[in-house]
Assembly symmetry: none
Homo-oligomer: 129 residues x 4
Amino acid sequence: MITIDLISRTPLYLQIINRIEYLIARGILQDGSQLPSVRSLAMELSINPNTIQRAYNELESKGIVNSLPGRGSFIVATPTVLFSIKKQSIQSELAAIIRKAKLLGIGKNELIDFCTQIFDQQPKEVEVK
Amino acid sequence: MITIDLISRTPLYLQIINRIEYLIARGILQDGSQLPSVRSLAMELSINPNTIQRAYNELESKGIVNSLPGRGSFIVATPTVLFSIKKQSIQSELAAIIRKAKLLGIGKNELIDFCTQIFDQQPKEVEVK
Amino acid sequence: MITIDLISRTPLYLQIINRIEYLIARGILQDGSQLPSVRSLAMELSINPNTIQRAYNELESKGIVNSLPGRGSFIVATPTVLFSIKKQSIQSELAAIIRKAKLLGIGKNELIDFCTQIFDQQPKEVEVK
Amino acid sequence: MITIDLISRTPLYLQIINRIEYLIARGILQDGSQLPSVRSLAMELSINPNTIQRAYNELESKGIVNSLPGRGSFIVATPTVLFSIKKQSIQSELAAIIRKAKLLGIGKNELIDFCTQIFDQQPKEVEVK
DNA sequence: GTGGTCTAGACCACG
DNA sequence: GTGGTCTAGACCACC
């Protein structure tokens, strides 16, 4: 369920976070679900347990996961909550890049056309990087 | 003319590259213009000459600048050329983020509205990061 | 495997680049192979880690190497790809020198004889400079 | 007669040397001809007199020019002598590049074909860089 | 441990 | 003065 891309430039802990958030947003990981243990997931993915630990820690500090020492880590966010969190981060990223585009002198219409094109061209399911 | 933000997480050498590319795109630095010398710019920005050197080197390997030992560094790219280079990179960044938005389940109309809003909200002149 | 010549006038970082490209072209460093770490290679060659870092950076910007922070640097180019890159650069160098020879008034036959002689005289394995 | 290319990466003093040697080889500057004075040539080319001085010095140490303090600089090499000097330097450059080609695994026939092609493609008169 | 960025300071060739 | 290379040593994020 949780997969990573060892070749990708994206840090492994971020790939894990993105993947878990994606699974929540899609309703695959539900509120209250238990995440795999740090050690078992590390084994499964053949990476360092510290990396998993970091991903879980960041998810906890975002309020998406609840780690109970000795018992495991559990999802505490509904897709709705998760959605608004993610949406905000995407908004800020999008704002940054649109700022760049404006600096370049790209007009609004050109930008919109562009977004439409990209949106339509994307395949329906893509691995989160 | 060339400014940096010491607080930004963007590496200084990248800020300098972005700034120079921006000035070329805007037609402020013209084809054939001489850039400030490595040492003088380092002094002006109060940073290490090596950092400027690195920025100029990368601009040279991108074919935007011509560095002549003992003579100075000169712009060799027209705004048009520069524009197409930058546009391509913005396109790929935009594609990546729109991919993310789709994964979240954001619809096309919502995305477009979003871009329009952001585009209109942006102040006219913003520091390149 | 990777060696340098401290006496040569060729910059160390270029010697390292050439050497690695040579090892790829020969199939000794294969697609996916991990390069020695920046620090370990620096230690082995008794030079500064920054010099190795620079070589790896340039190889990455050429698309020959993939550097993943915290994980290492990996070959991503096949010998075939590398071969065509190198061949092109050799072609242009050769063109430049043949142009000079023509300016001197050296005839085609003389040039060809010359190349043949040099080709046959070369020892089979020489250090890349 | 003596021209330079301010954009070229070749050092100015080398361009001047190459140009003078070319003019001798072609018989345009004859044995005993007086070269323009350092200052007048510097003025004419709008470059630093030191650069001309350096070029003349190197030509003198090669035995091609004789500089008589207070009187000027004179050609002392015949085209024949010059030819053999240049031929040697071209030989060593050619040897270096053929060595590289061999390292890449380029065969003798391929090399020869290549040289022939380049030789035939070259325009008859090209500026020495 | 890994790569990436930056500073400080030195030396070189070129003008 | 100019750009180019290299060393030494520091700090960062990531694994």
